[in-house]
Amino acid sequence: MSRFEFYNNDGLRIDGRRSNELKNFESSITTTSNFANFSRNTSTNTTYLQMGQNKVLVTINGPKEPTNRTKIDSNKATLSTNINISKFSKVNRNTNKSNLPDKQTLEWEYEITQLFSTIVVLETYPKSTISINVTVLQQDGGVLSAIINCITIALINNSIQIYDIITAVSIGIVDQKHFLLDLNHLEEQFLSSGTIATVGGGDQVSLLRIRDKFPLDLIEEFMQVGLQGCSVLKEIITKQVKDMNLNKLVEIQ
């Protein structure tokens, strides 16, 4: 079926990972030079995530009073997402001349807004807005999952109350039987793939997105692979977030 060999006899993939191995996951806080503005830790943090070769930058603005009066909800905060996929992020430069986002990005915005509206404890921030700004600097397959993970970390870093950590991971299927976790660019292009996001590393699925033809009978295994990936990722994220904020703990005590 496949023109490419997605993994060799040793069970290693093109980029040297095993079939159910995650990409390298590195996240850090405040990479933009907020230095000019007063201090290393200003009120708005930037969160940077490198998941494999995906490079995502998230800033969160708010909670603050909305400039647009019609958007005020007196009971809870409103959430808005804005994703900017930079034109140089792919191998081929995006030739789309207009600066408007393409339809896929708009779909992602819709999905992410819906996703985090239930995860953020919106009731604690009445009459305010929280806007999430995402910049994708480089993409390498599974961008949606990288964005979701990065937003989760950014929400924690900005101390916005959330019910639980959300982790997302992309999954592909080879030859109708093997599953690959956390796809790279090539794999995503040639395989049927999907993205799954779970809450708190458990088996509560919060977002699911399969846009390719996919055999119905394999859905159960698909979920299992995804859930395991997510639960591992949750531990990694928890650990990294704690490491990242360690220096601030010292100063509290």
């Binding site: 159910n20 230095f35 201090s39 200003t42 101390s159 088996d203």
Partner: protein
Amino acid sequence: MSSNTKILTVIKHIDNNVNITDNLKNFNANVNEDYDFSSSDEEDVNMEEKDSDISDDEDELENKKLINQIISPGDLVIKSSEYMKGHNTYTTQEHFEKSNTTEDGNTKSGEEELNIYSSTLGVLSKINKLISVTNINKNLYQAEIGDHIIGQIVEVTSAKKWKLNINGNNLATLQLSSINLPGGLLRRKNEQDELNMKQLLKVGDLINCEVQGVHASGNDINLHTRSLKYGKLRNGALVKVKMGLIQRKKTHTHFFNNNSIKIILGCNGFIWVSYERAPIDSVTKDKGSESIKTDITRIEQDTSFEIYSDINDPNIDLKTRILISKYVIIIKILAFNNLVINEQRINSVYELILSYNRNSGGMPNNSGNSKDVLFLLNDPEVMKDIGYQLVQGEKMRG
């Protein structure tokens, strides 16, 4: 931990779960972990032992202990019906029916238990029966009555109010009735004043004020400036620092450098550095009954349109300006090093800067010109160094 070991742990995790044949319903990856008050996770300690073959640093062990104290969002803080939930937590209720049935004949079936979870990254704080989580990243100002803060006017509304940005999640309101109108305390406000609102305070003005009231669980904040020490700010520069670097104290207004520099440490992370001669009596005398008396008479005298003037004092010369920017940099240095900003520290950093000036004699472009020195201090390396020296100095003194 280096990235390599991280990947290894990932592989280890996954290899445990290679067999993916069991039914989904049995999948139970995440068993709720009780948060341990004594903060000693055995597993993590074991992990640490494996890692510590390479690096036996005590610092790292210390860090490990600290990390175990941090609660991440979604962690179970405590499972009990006795405690109450405080800030940054949420609860779920759980019905227990199986609890006492086995041992005793009398069953307590309808028992409810409260699970308190954390909703932020922070450290546990327990006051009697109130469980709350203190944020590690304090970004937004949470107002308390009596806080001395600095706010920026964002909007002049039609309803006799100003809206101020005070670094909180909502804008605070300053009512026309809670400011000192020009012309003395006893003056009644008239309709003309409503029309003149924009003349008194415009959009973009900085106001030095106090929190009068907090309503709707911290989302509706009222301010007032009904004292001579509050009012519009002039002749200086604003520095915004992270929340948590300024602690609530008795006084937030400090004078430095022979009482020529006035620094207001707003509780909301806004700091105002300005040139102002301290009134001699307020510095020399302690607060007593006499000074209050004089205050009232002074209010009547001084409350004129002048306090709402926009024009900076033309008498400030270049030297004072440099002095102001020097203090701005001092605050930046403290903020950069995540050190709590107070009067004492500002003074000691000022001294450090003077000595640093002498130490860096080997630097190329150092001709003793104070401008160059200021530029030099903006370097993050230098800032780090000064912060380090300050902490060392404080440790020496104890």
